[in-house]
Amino acid sequence: MDEIMSKNNSEYLIERNDNVYEVVIGLEVHAQVTSNSKLFSSSSTKFGAEPNTQVSLVDAAFPGMLPVINEFCVKQAIKTGIGLKAKINNKSVFDRKNYFYADLPQGYQISQYKYPIVGEGNVILDMPEGQKQIGIERLHLEQDAGKSIHDIDPSNTLVDLNRSGVALMEIVSKPDLRSPDEVNAYIKKLRSIMRYLGTCDGNMQEGSLRADVNVSVRIKGSTDLGTRCEIKNVNSIKFMQMAIIYEANRQVDLIEEGQEIDQETRLFDTKKNETRSMRSKEDAHDYRYFPDPDLLPLEVTDEFIVKLKSEIPELPDDKKKRFIDEFKVSPYDATILVSDIDTAKYFEEVVAKMGKNSDMKLAVNWITGELFAVLNDKNIEIAQSPISAKNLAKLINLIKNGTISGKIAKTIFELMLDGDIDPQIIVEEKGLKQESDPKALEALIDKIINDNREKAIEYKQGKEKLFGFFVGQAMKASGGKANPQLINEILKKKL
């Protein structure tokens, strides 16, 4: 095992003096449940509304107001649990986590403590060196708090309760992650699964996905866990990775200096790229968890779970396997295609339109190459692709059947962007059809050789480099439409 690990491309080790340390990471991911209304109230969850416009009496904790569970959110959590191959608990309990803060109207957060709705599961990561399984400890449902805004008014903190009461799933991993790369893969995989399920949009900019990162270090080979620090509320993968690298090195430095690591909660300062102590274990909140007496234990029957299972779509791991088996796509390409449900959907649409006997590799390359570049450039998702799967399929078939060259295809692709134009029409209107008539090409080449007699002689005398010159001239003369293969063949013959 160690030998395999040492060849590990995504491995992250810290060497100090003669010691080699590995980092042990566990994540508590907070994923906002995709739902029109909040976990215990009917207020809207829409992002970006005017402050305090999506707040019910329950969300603002008015006297006598009571929470009523949103069944849809429960279904979403169970579906996510199924996606994580996890045990769904027939009985779970909502607890109150008590603490005072201005953006926590009730003075407690309703969460699940001892009895979460989802138990142990796992996710598979596709790392460059192979697959790795990461254990899931649990998934539970909880309310989000509101937002405190400290930088609008110089002397007051303003509170926006739009987010107060929004349903979150806290997904707790086992301490199975060993490197920033694995964290990257884990978050992306989790997000991918939830997007497939439609249970969380995974939008990190809007705060739909955030994580608390638990980091400890130990001498490589040791099986004991070191003292961990928890880095709170990191909201991008990049920051998670930066925070882990900083924190792991800080801990290693302390150990090398013979110091103890304090178990504490830390904050990541994105501007200074460092973690800072927020509170020590001694100062840790006593949340006084106890079962919320306003809510009965949440009971779900096996029938309910079975029914939800039947609604689960094909998930990334299965889809990948199918792409490899059915479309003979390489595992590497399949991983990329299935990582995002919309990409997978797009690819399958392209395949359906172009036919299974068409060129899969070409389809993959065009999607992950040209199309991704455009999407990146325009900063849009594939669901908003300016070129439909149908038209991309046509373009690929035009290449495959020799109507156009790959080079011309790129020109056509650029033209297609302007309103998803049918490539066939572009070919016809612009006369971009590849010239594959040998007679026409022979005539064209004869003329070129005739016009460049001296160079033709030089070539025949051994200056083989000049072959490229003739190809270029032929392509130029044909306006780029000449079939390059035929040009090659004819030139070789004629020269």
Partner: protein, 485 residues
């Protein structure tokens, strides 16, 4: 027509339906009497003008099919009432005006009831004498400087003083039944889950239950019928088939088995309570019931269990009163300072005491020893009743271990105050229905009550037994209107 105010709810409804009394006339009588009764301090907020206006509107367009046709009713100030200040007896909600209505009060207005005003109570319903209210003591109409019980002390006093034909209270550990017992009135705590808790300022969520308070048993049955309803807005509300309690009310309790729990003979219980209980047993027998001795072995643990569970829940329920969103806000240097000042100034001593106890029993390291253990004991107490109900249909006990005491007599001795709830608390812990009916007087002529405890959802049997015994007991309050002189 001063006697209007001394009519029972049933009689008043009858007179209104027969158009002998108009809603407005009735309202006027209660308002007039209230104006002369300020001394007993039952009202925190009066709604007289609006009530008079609404009663007129009712008379202009009467609907006699309603269960409470144009009946003016004052309610405990723990029920949130739309556009009418709701304080829970606390300074921290001194300025709080809800924009919503509790389900229980809405049910009353839907049946034609009209809000007279909001009645004094112990702060956040924490107390047994109404002495913890920010709005001052309430006088028991029975005698000067006597407490009316608590926490629904304003409700019991208003009822006994004929300031409202009927009222509603809330009962977490005896807060309906004990004040009823102290004022010679009837108070029913329904099965947990019968009446919605939506819109009731929470004290201890797993124990709180609203219920009717009235001059006689029949009136309680009428009001229970109105306020008991399944409510989706309360997750602990229970969807069971509710009776037409008033029309199914009967004095035929022949053959019903009534249990007498030996553990309710507590040390130091006054002789007159013992005598009252014995008398009650004889009345029950006279009504045709069969008396059976039973045991509720965990009874002595009920009070300590209650004083862990209730403060624990209260400490969390009251966290929302932080000066941020509504209610009192004291200014502070920063957020924490503002919290401390607001809650120091906003809460009274008893509330602070219970918040402290609750915070303590839930804190890590103590949770298992206190809260968790209390929850386990609570199950045992519930099992005691379950087992007893294999043998009997209902249980008869005294309502309280003593009669009403003087204002100030126990206010510096919280434990002695807590002992008031010794017979009522087990009923809340087990979620059962229980009623207190007046059954006699002590040596000072202060009223004493008997409690009938029923099976879950069996309010009908509880009411029927109370109804039969009430007739035999034939108790009448002797109210002299001393506060008007």
């Amino acid at each position: 027509m001063s006697e209007i105010t001394s009519l029972t709810l049933y009689e008043l409804i009858k007179n209104i339906k027969e158009k002998k009394i108009s809603s407005n006339e009735a309202t006027k009588s209660f308002v007039d009497r209230a104006e002369k009764s300020k001394k007993i301090n039952v009202y925190v907020t009066e709604n007289f003008e609006n009530c008079l206006k609404l009663s007129k509107e009712f008379d202009d367009k009467p609907n006699f099919d309603l269960k409470l046709p144009g009946i003016p009713i004052a309610v405990k100030d723990l029920f949130c009432t739309n556009e009418v200040r709701t304080t829970a007896g606390s300074n921290i909600l001194n300025n709080f005006v809800p924009t919503y209505e509790s389900t229980v009060t809405q049910n009353i207005w839907n049946e034609g009831g009209i809000l007279l005003g909001k009645l004094n109570c112990d702060e956040f319903a924490m107390g047994s004498s109404n002495e913890t209210s920010f709005f001052g003591n309430v006088q028991n109409p029975i005698a000067e400087d006597l407490v009316p019980g608590g926490s629904s002390g304003g409700s019991s006093a208003a009822l006994a003083a004929n300031l409202t034909p009927v009222t509603i209270g809330t009962d977490t550990g005896g807060s309906i039944r004990q004040p009823a017992s102290f004022t010679g009135t009837v108070g029913l705590k329904p099965t947990y889950g019968s009446c919605s808790r939506y819109g009731i300022v929470a004290f201890a969520s797993s124990l709180d239950q609203a219920g009717p308070m009235s001059k006689d048993v029949k009136d309680s049955s009428i009001l229970l019928e109105v306020i008991s309803s399944f409510d989706k807005k309360d997750s602990t509300s229970i969807d069971f088939q509710r009776n037409n309690y008033s029309s199914e009310l009967t004095r035929n309790i022949k053959g019903l088995k009534i249990g007498i729990p030996k553990e309710y003979r507590v040390d130091g219980m006054p002789d007159e309570i013992e005598k009252l209980w014995k008398k009650g047993i004889e009345y029950a027998k006279d009504c045709g019931a069969e008396i059976i001795d039973i045991s509720l072995p965990h009874t002595s643990y009920a009070l300590p269990t209650y004083y862990i569970v209730a403060p624990a829940e209260a400490s969390s329920n009251l966290a929302r009163y932080d000066g941020v969103k509504y209610g009192l806000r004291s200014s502070g240097k920063n957020l924490i300072d503002m919290y401390e000042k607001t809650r120091s100034e906003g809460f009274g001593e008893e509330v602070k005491r219970r918040v402290m106890i609750g915070t303590y029993v839930l804190s890590s390291g103590y949770y298992d020893a206190y809260y968790l253990k209390a929850q386990k004991v609570r199950q045992l107490i519930k099992q005691d009743f379950d087992q007893a109900y294999n043998k009997v249909d209902a249980i008869l006990t005294p309502s309280t271990p003593s009669s009403a005491f003087k204002i100030g007599e126990k206010s510096n001795d919280p434990v002695s105050m807590y002992l008031n709830d010794i017979f009522t608390v087990p009923v809340n812990l087990a979620g059962l229905p229980g009623i207190s009916i007046p059954a006699g007087v002590d040596k000072n002529n202060y009223p004493l009550g008997l409690q009938i405890i029923g099976k879950p959802f069996d309010e009908q049997t509880v009411l029927n037994i109370a109804y039969s015994m009430e007739e035999k007991i034939n108790y009448k309050n002797n109210i002299t209107d001393w506060w008007m002189k």
